[in-house]
């Protein structure tokens, strides 16, 4: 067996008492592709950011070529021969492809003048060697997302590293580009490099990887050779334990349709989506990141423009042209990005809770502060929000309590249909259960719930039916009887 190139043992990391990673370990051998597998929150990203020196570790050992290493910053890791292709692209749009590739290490001539001729020449050679058909003089802003991703890949490879980490490198690529990337990976393997490959797309892992390590909930689960494992076995390891006691589900779907959507288009690329959700029902929208789930919510809630298709609310055809129309009709949207679109962080708990209900809490133009305060107290009690008083800025609350403030804001509007986008993201287990309890109670009382979730467990535990999305289209519908983790992953990937 070839020697270990990169070895990680017993890596731990805690965030405010919560363990994001408790025994991170894997071994990467030269000339192989090693897949890191696991769901969201499994600890893969935490592990990689520690390896690259972006975050500190709380414990554990990392060895590169047998020597212990601890990098302070990513440039140290690169100097030692580890490079990463990050999931989040970070191009400088107004600069050329060559300038982006050699950013911060431009070849210089006399008096420190950038030697553009050499730079463009080197970039051209690099792109040619990867057979990426992109001109080094093109501006990044004129490229497609897939091409930008290829440039990022070229940039990472230009460091000529021993270890190359690829974090979801294909998330923006089409099939042809994926093939190009795989050819490149084969060449890198032949040259004796080690590649860490992270992807949610299992078929890619089965194709390209030699070995795997599975993480779940921040713990190491298993490792081995891809040749010795089937796709089904791998899914079993990723999905893992039985999940009954974690969830609260006491609702009973009725046959009265609350919200029905047919032939809906959104965001320019989500096409022809149809579904309906009944009173008392929890419908899950399942799919990979970028499959169009959030875009459907944004359209239904009036955040984006009408692009065709019909929305019916309790049998009545509605336009949903603005969020305020949606709210008035009784739709609530808990967005995916709590800090970006859910809360005003500098504002206090009370103002955040009352924000979607200003008209009802005022007489004419004047707010009724007594009623505001009473409304806030009611929601703080209902969700058991842990805050000393309602005048504290929400930035001072924990993630779970912040999420409860968002839910409080929407429950105050007394919605009939609740749209939940990743309602438990970044929330600890205790608060998760309380949120499930509230969702279940809402549905049991006759509310309709549409829930976007990437967490298999959550979908399996909460949903009555699951609509599966893929590349902006519906790719399947499963009832609760047909549900299984295997089917979910198969249909989405």
């Amino acid at each position: 067996m070839p020697e270990a190139l990169l070895e990680v043992r017993d890596l731990t990391k805690n965030f405010g008492g919560v363990a994001a990673l408790s025994n991170g370990q894997f071994t990467l051998r030269a000339g192989t592709v090693h897949a890191l597998c696991g769901g969201n929150g499994a600890g893969k990203s935490t592990l990689l950011t520690i390896v690259m020196g972006i975050q500190d570790r709380d414990g554990g050992v990392i060895r590169l070529n047998g020597r212990e290493v601890d990098f302070d910053k990513p440039s140290d890791a690169r100097a030692a021969g580890i490079t990463i292709i990050e999931q989040e692209l970070s191009p400088v749009p107004a600069m050329s492809v060559a300038e982006n590739i050699f950013l911060g290490r431009e070849p210089v001539g006399l008096f420190g003048r950038v030697d553009f001729a050499t730079m463009n020449h080197n970039a051209q050679e690099l792109l040619d060697s990867l057979s990426f058909d992109i001109s080094p003089k093109t501006l990044m802003m004129d490229l497609t997302v897939a091409e930008v991703q290829l440039v990022e890949i070229a940039k990472a490879l230009s460091y000529d590293a021993e270890v190359i980490i690829m974090d979801e490198p294909t998330s923006a690529l089409g099939e042809a580009e994926v093939d190009q990337l795989f050819e490149t990976i084969e060449r890198l393997k032949a040259a004796g490099k080690g590649i860490v490959y992270v992807s949610h797309r299992l078929s890619e892992i089965m194709d390209v990887a030699d070995e795997y390590t599975v993480f779940r909930d921040g713990r190491f689960v298993a490792d081995g050779k891809i040749a010795d494992v089937s796709r089904e076995e791998l899914i079993q390891m990723i999905v893992g334990r039985p999940l009954t006691e974690e969830f609260v589900k006491e609702n009973q779907a009725t046959s009265e349709v609350a919200l029905s959507v047919s032939g809906l288009n959104a965001a320019g690329w989500v096409k022809d989506v149809s579904f309906e959700v009944c009173k008392g029902e929890i419908l899950a929208l399942y799919g990979l990141m970028g499959s169009g789930r959030s875009e459907i919510f944004e359209r239904i809630f009036g955040l984006t423009q009408d692009e065709g298709g019909e929305i019916q609310f309790f049998g009545e055809k509605v336009r949903m042209a603005t969020p305020s129309e949606a709210i008035k009709r009784g739709v609530a949207l808990v967005t995916e990005d709590r800090k970006g679109t859910g809360l005003v962080l500098d504002a206090d708990v009370r103002s955040n809770i009352c924000m979607a209900q200003l008209e009802e809490l005022s007489v004419g133009p004047v707010m009724q502060s007594g009623r505001e305060s009473a409304a806030a107290s009611r929601m703080i009690e209902m969700f058991d929000i842990k805050t000393p008083n309602d005048r504290l800025p929400v930035s001072g609350l924990s993630g779970g309590n912040q999420q409860k403030v968002v839910l409080g804001k929407w429950f105050l509007t007394e919605p009939k249909v609740l749209l939940l986008d990743e309602p438990t993201r970044g929330v600890d287990v205790g608060a998760k259960r309380e949120i499930y309890r509230v969702i279940s109670d809402f549905a049991r009382a006759g509310g309709a719930v549409v829930m976007v979730s990437s967490e298999n467990d959550e979908v399996l535990g909460m949903a009555d039916r699951v609509l599966i999305m893929r590349d902006g289209r519906v790719s399947g519908m499963l009832t609760r009887d047909e549900l299984s983790a295997e089917k979910l992953v198969h249909l989405a990937a």
């Binding site: 709210i327 859910g342 504002a347 133009p365």
Partner: protein, 331 residues
């Protein structure tokens, strides 16, 4: 012992909290106390009324600016709007036959309404361009700064509008119970702004849009309307300030209000309103405007050359914001 130590700590924590909340107010009081001892003239009714009257124009502009800055915007055009509203209203209130338009002079209410209307119109144009066409506020209002100044010069042919009627001049020179009208107008506008920002639905939406426009939008708030409205408010208040200025001096000058936007922004920033929006109070702006005026007045009284005053004001603005930053970091 332990109890004494914990009491001491409580006291320190309390002092820190009050320092945070009332830092600028304490600075204002400190400056006033120092000036009272340094100069026997400072704490006289006449001087205090003088300071307040000097504060009123910048204060009115700064109140409008507070609304705009709370929504993450900026209004650089207020100084030019002061001049434009001044000349337009004055041209309807002048007894000079060469400067009068449309058979002026009219009864004071008509030129006053015209001045407010000019301010509203400029603010509305700013607001539409910012809110609907998403042009950065800095650029939009920089354009209006230039355009409104140009319109002022076109309207008057570059000449001042003199000889205003007594009725019109009342808002600048009149007084009620010994209190000059500019101070009364400033006080009324301040109280109205205080009420709007702290007690009305619109006030809540201003803070929400400034704090996080995306979250405000998802919460059903019409963020375009809120943005538009704050520029209209700022423009209207600039119109009022422009008329007070013309009424006080007795003629409307085309070069009136140059660089006034900077003093208004300074008062808002010294008063603790965050340029990144969502945080701040109009009481802070009042204190900021007073601090600038008191410091200027004190330096005048002590016979410090006006060139130094500009340097000191500059230092004051930067120091106030540095203090604010340090406070945020400590949190």
């Amino acid at each position: 012992m332990a109890e004494a130590a914990s009491q001491n700590r409580d006291f320190k924590a309390l002092a820190a909290e009050y320092g945070q909340k009332y830092g600028i107010l304490m600075a204002l009081i400190l400056v006033c106390v120092l000036l009272t001892f340094a100069n026997e003239y400072f704490l006289t009714t006449r001087n205090i009324l003088n300071v307040l009257r000097q504060t009123s124009i910048n204060g009115i502009l700064a109140i409008g600016m507070t609304f705009v800055i709370l929504t993450r915007g900026i209004d650089l055009s207020v100084g030019s709007v002061v001049a434009l509203a001044g000349v337009v209203s004055a041209s309807l209130a002048t007894t000079s036959t060469t400067a009068a338009v449309l058979g002026a002079p009219y009864f004071a209410a008509i030129p006053l309404a015209a001045g407010v209307a000019v301010g509203l119109a400029c603010g509305w144009v700013n607001g539409v361009i910012v809110a609907r066409f998403n042009v950065p506020a800095f650029v939009t209002t920089l354009g209006m700064l230039s355009a409104a100044r140009g319109m002022t010069l076109l309207y008057t042919g570059g000449k001042p509008v003199p000889a205003l009627t007594d009725g019109f001049r009342y808002i600048g020179t009149g007084s009620i119970l010994g209190i000059p009208m500019p101070i009364i107008l400033f006080a009324v506008i301040f109280l109205a702004a205080l009420f709007v920002l702290s007690a009305t639905r619109f006030g809540r939406t201003v803070y929400a849009v400034g704090g996080n426009p995306h979250a405000a939008r998802v919460s059903g708030i019409n963020i375009r309307r809120v943005r538009l409205t704050v520029y209209v408010i700022s423009g209207a208040l600039a119109g009022i300030a422009g008329m007070i200025l013309a009424a006080r001096t007795g003629s409307a000058l085309t070069q009136a209000g140059i660089a006034y936007e900077l003093d208004a922004i300074a008062a808002v920033v010294i008063g603790g309103t965050s340029l990144s929006g969502g945080v701040g109070k109009v009481t802070g702006t009042l204190i900021g405007a007073l601090l600038i005026a008191v410091v200027n007045n004190g330096l005048d009284l002590m016979g410090v050359e006006s060139y130094y005053q500009q340097v000191i004001k500059g230092a004051l603005i930067v120091a106030a914001v540095m203090l604010d930053q340090a406070r945020h970091k400590a949190e």
